[in-house]
């Protein structure tokens, strides 16, 4: 059953590989690339939010750290893109390790506030430093191949997804995280070290986010503090995860695709009503918290049966 689902995922992934063969329009391929990126950001957000029970409002910091590390290494040190982006992921992972020890002791809203504040602090820091270009941002060497970026983004997100699937759905790690989410004190009595598990989850969430940030930087060729370190990355990932279905791998993917499709169509046809977008996004999040506690995934017929069996 679970394996049939994986087969479907593999098939869906194979189909996405064919997108550039069908889509020749550059703008459209850009849209697809960004959709894949948001899938990655939502899935990585959910490792902490859904599986471990921590809403990380500093998710954008990992994205930005990855983007800036990649940019600095490429522009200031003349590195190639691949090692620079890899180091961007490592830097984000290191950031999670350092930020995790103090923040992961906090629960609920306090963790959300602490991570949000940390992300703001990093944004301010980047705004002030010469190394990062301050408010002017950084321009990366342009490499204009939409197809290349589509495949790189897909590769990073695809590998992330299947590594996550193995660790969270197959290996004991995912269940252990859920135990910590449900009851940290109780988990300790069963031989689990919650601090260690949470730090591992934080790092596991941060590394791919940093790499995605690195790919983003090279792809859009220009980054500034607002576009990579701003609130929107965290907020939008949160909406996608909650809307799609927390604590699962497929939920965030569905949420990311639907929300991103909505966003794209909105900007394409209703950009005059720009201000409405955030209002609608807010309404969607409020609505899905109240009416779809298990997200869109929870109302799919097959899933609903499962959920009902559990109840």
């Amino acid at each position: 059953m679970r394996d049939r689902r994986l087969t479907r995922c593999v098939l869906a992934f194979a189909a996405t590989l064919l997108v550039p063969a069908v889509v020749h329009d550059t703008f459209l391929l850009r849209v697809f690339t960004e959709a894949v990126m948001w899938i990655g950001l939502a899935v990585t957000f959910d490792v902490l939010a859904g599986y471990t029970g921590y809403l990380n409002f500093g998710h954008s910091a990992f994205f930005g750290i990855g983007a800036y590390t990649t940019a600095i290494l490429m522009v200031r040190a003349g590195w190639h893109f691949a090692p620079a982006a890899a180091l961007g992921g490592a830097a984000a992972g290191l950031g999670a390790l350092i930020a995790g020890f103090p923040t992961l002791r906090l629960r609920g809203a306090y963790f959300a506030i602490a991570t949000w504040a940390l992300a703001r602090a990093i944004q301010e820091l980047v705004l002030m430093m010469d190394l990062t270009g301050g408010p002017d941002g950084m321009r990366l060497p342009a490499f204009l191949s939409p197809r290349f970026f589509y495949y790189v983004m897909l590769g990073v997100v695809g590998v992330t997804f299947f590594v996550y699937w193995f660790l969270l759905e197959r290996a004991p790690f995912g269940l252990k995280l859920k135990a910590v989410r449900e009851d940290e004190q109780g988990a300790k009595a069963l031989g689990l070290n919650p601090t260690m598990l949470k730090i591992q989850a934080f790092i596991l969430s941060a590394i791919p986010t940093g790499i995605i940030g690195g790919v983003f930087a090279y792809w859009v060729t220009f980054i500034d503090p607002a576009s990579t370190l701003g609130d929107l990355v965290s907020d939008q990932a949160l909406v996608m995860v909650v809307f799609g279905g927390m604590g699962t791998l497929i939920g965030p993917v569905i949420g990311a695709v639907l929300i991103f499709a909505f966003k794209t169509l909105f900007w394409a046809y209703l950009s005059d009503y720009e201000v409405l977008y955030l209002i609608i996004l807010g309404a969607v999040i409020a609505g899905s918290v109240v009416f779809l506690p298990d997200g869109v995934l929870g109302v799919l017929p097959q899933r609903r049966k499962e959920v009902r069996n559990l109840a």
């Binding site: 859920k178 109780g186 069963l190 070290n193 559990l310």
Partner: protein, 241 residues
């Protein structure tokens, strides 16, 4: 006389100015069932938390198999063979009954398939097999208490701390749980049990340790302790009774 498996040596636990447990000492020998009793607020659960690593003792120490374990973390102690249940049962509510036990099984069986196999055995032992795929939140109180015991058992402990696993159950369920506890002892597990229901504690304990206001006021076989004037006073109040 065999070496004691657990030695509580002059343990004191303060919370700020409040002394919850004061200079308590007793020993538990292998395969014994020791009942820990006392009125509400006597310090039973605090003592449990000290022994299982949730609190470090303010003074004194706890020895397990002759080694000082005071201040070790609960998960380290689980690894050494100490299992515990919680007075307020808190299953991982969002997970299935099976998953609850599988998580505990990882301690001795790190591979998922082996852990699952082991969990099924524990479910059979605790008679939860037919509920395996239900959410743990959907269990009745009796079921939750059995699950709590099952999770502790899945750790394959040599020493088990049971905190009010009988309270709140109906008489049939009580008998059922007593049977389960006696079966565990038969398997060679040493048990320290906190319980308010005297009928239960008198029936299964080899010895009782009585706490009142954080201090040990009596220790001995159930029949002896039940007639101890100090114990009667603690439970029924002063001379006017």
């Amino acid at each position: 006389m065999p070496e004691p498996i657990l030695v509580v040596d002059n343990v004191t636990k303060n919370f700020g100015g409040l002394t919850a447990v004061h200079e308590v000492s007793f020993q538990v020998r292998p395969k014994e069932i020791i009942g820990l009793i006392g009125p509400n607020g006597a310090g039973k659960t605090t003592l449990f938390n000290v022994i299982s690593g949730y609190y470090a003792p303010s003074r004194g120490k706890v020895l397990f198999h002759g080694k000082d374990i005071s201040g070790k973390t609960p998960y380290a102690l689980a690894g050494r063979g100490i299992g515990r249940t919680f007075q307020v049962v808190k299953p991982f509510a969002g997970l299935s009954v099976l998953e609850n036990v599988v998580i505990a099984s990882f301690l001795r069986h790190p591979k998922r398939a082996r852990a699952e196999e082991h969990a099924w055995k524990v479910l059979e032992f605790t008679e939860l097999t037919d509920r395996a795929h239900q959410s743990a939140a959907s269990l009745t109180l009796a079921g939750r208490k059995r699950l709590e015991i099952g999770k502790a058992l899945a750790l394959e402990p040599t020493f088990l701390l049971l905190d009010e696993v009988v309270a709140g159950l109906n008489p049939t369920e009580v008998d059922h749980t007593i049977e389960l506890i006696l079966k565990l002892r038969y398997q060679g597990i040493t048990i320290l049990i906190v319980e308010h229901i005297m009928r239960v504690i008198m029936r299964i304990s080899d010895r009782l340790v009585v706490l009142n206001f954080g201090e040990k006021i009596a220790e001995g076989p159930p029949a002896e302790v039940a007639t101890d004037p100090g114990v009667i006073e603690a439970y029924l109040g002063g001379g006017e009774a």
